[in-house]
């Protein structure tokens, strides 16, 4: 039984990136495994991860996908699309008309596959939203932009979107918070991965000193690099330690309160849930009540990103994370 008035739980297949890349599962096999373990029914899929013919899925692909959905009882909830604007490295981004059409192709695929939500990215400039909102409305799809580290409420790109959302008033536009932007600390498992890659404790200490400082992520990464090189650390060890700057940021967890009303879906980003049901780096006890008490009725999908630096069992991590989220959502 699920309570339709409360936030729903699900999983993004992105959590199983290691299992996918090592070909332990094909798409039907992975969906069957997720269903068997009771991690659905709500699922998010990255179009460009799981469908060979993305961005333009064929009728045959869509029919086969719907067969597996029917067989497993899973519920397509969000399709992650990509705002690929920089198609030629070092050259100008693609023109606006091409970028709009690129999004329309992916929105059509989302509709064809039966997804009600499409996740987009800030690489799509806000001034193109007026071209896409009516198109998404006609398809019956809500397009949510992912608010991911280093961004959060108050970032210029987020504010530009908020102003455009106010101007357009379209029901087809919203936010998809990703909690990577509001980590309270660097996950210990990520530090352990840097240690295994050869980073010395003095480099880890330097990382822990610089990471929480105010400033832009790439500037802080540059500062770490400069000071670590001067201290004699090897470039490959510095690269291993620098991952923290690129996938998580320490903005205020309570800042999500500004975005609850227009939140259409949530990426429950996490790195590791311990035996006591606590996430290593992100304070779920602070964040989830904002959405629970703010009236969010959509789906939070468990998004394990530890696969970016180690090989823990993704299924066990997702199981723990979903139990934690259910507990906090139930504590009304």
């Amino acid at each position: 039984m699920t309570n339709e008035s409360a936030p729903q739980i699900g999983v993004t297949l992105y959590s199983f990136t290691n299992e996918w890349l090592t070909r332990q599962f094909d798409l039907p096999g992975l969906m069957r495994e997720v269903a068997k373990r009771g991690m659905g029914p709500n699922i998010e899929i990255i179009g460009f991860q799981s469908f060979r013919d993305f961005p333009d899925v064929s009728d045959d692909t869509a029919a086969r996908f719907k067969d597996i959905v029917a067989e497993t009882g899973l519920k397509p909830t969000s399709l992650a699309i990509n705002s690929d604007r920089f198609m030629k490295p070092g050259q100008q981004p693609i023109d606006d008309a091409t970028l709009v059409e690129y999004h329309k192709r992916q929105l059509r695929s989302a509709a064809k596959l039966g997804f009600p939500i499409a996740r987009s990215q800030f690489a799509l400039p806000a001034h193109l939203l007026p071209d896409l909102a009516p198109y998404a409305e006609d398809l019956g799809i809500v397009m949510g932009v992912e608010v991911h580290a280093p961004m959060c409420w108050g970032h210029p790109a987020v504010q530009a979107y908020a102003e455009m959302y106010d101007k357009l008033g379209s029901p087809a536009l919203g936010w998809i918070p990703d909690f990577s932007g509001t980590a309270s600390r660097i996950p210990e498992s990520m530090l352990d991965a840097a240690r295994r890659a050869g980073a010395q404790e003095s480099l880890i200490d330097l990382l822990k000193e610089i990471w929480p400082e105010p400033g832009m992520s790439h500037e802080k990464a540059g500062k770490l690099r400069e000071r670590a090189l001067a201290a004699g650390h090897a470039p490959e060890h510095i690269q291993a330690a620098s991952l923290a700057f690129f996938i998580l940021a320490n903005n205020d967890p309570k800042s999500w309160a500004h975005m609850v009303d227009r939140t259409v879906h949530i990426h429950g980003k996490f790195y590791g849930v311990d035996d006591e049901g606590r996430e290593e780096a992100i304070d779920y006890e602070t964040i989830l009540p904002l959405f629970r008490d703010g009236g969010f009725k959509g789906t939070l999908v468990s998004e394990w990103e530890g696969h970016a630096y180690d090989m823990r069992d993704a299924f066990e991590q997702v199981r723990r994370h979903q139990a934690m989220c259910r507990r906090i959502f139930a504590e009304a």
Binding site: L21, F54, F86, P89, H307, A308, Y309
Partner: protein
């Protein structure tokens, strides 16, 4: 080595009538347009391989490596290998060689990001 860092493919190195064929994996979590993938260098037993005549093969199609930067609407499906064809090069079947590959990617939704990847493996020629 993590899956997302692996660039030499499971299918390894094959010697065919037209030349050598090296399997490659995409070091990212999602498919990318080939225009954002740079096959920077290959060395076999420490000797750099000339890539000017090389071809890239994926999902039954192939094209010259030299025009790969223009392939903005051709995608490398992340679960599949691509193959680098080195025409005219041969190695005896069953012989073992150290292969070093450098393959860099620039994810097209992250401005300015370039990820460098290098892998060395000892492969037995199929």
């Amino acid at each position: 080595m993590l899956p997302v860092e692996t660039i030499i493919g499971e299918e390894g190195l094959e010697s065919t009538g037209e030349g050598l064929r090296l399997a490659m994996r995409l070091p990212w979590y999602r498919s990318l347009p080939f225009s954002t993938v740079e096959i920077a260098s290959v060395a076999i037993d420490g000797e750099p391989v000339e890539l000017s005549g090389a071809l890239v093969e994926h999902d039954g199609e192939r094209w010259p490596l030299a025009v790969q930067g223009e392939e903005t609407d051709r995608f490398w499906f992340v679960r599949d290998s691509s193959f680098l064809i080195l025409p005219g090069q041969q190695l005896p079947a069953g012989s073992r060689h150290e292969v070093a590959l450098t393959l860099n990617i620039s994810p097209p939704y992250i401005p300015g990001m370039k990820r460098f990847n290098r892998q060395t493996a000892t492969l037995s020629v199929n």
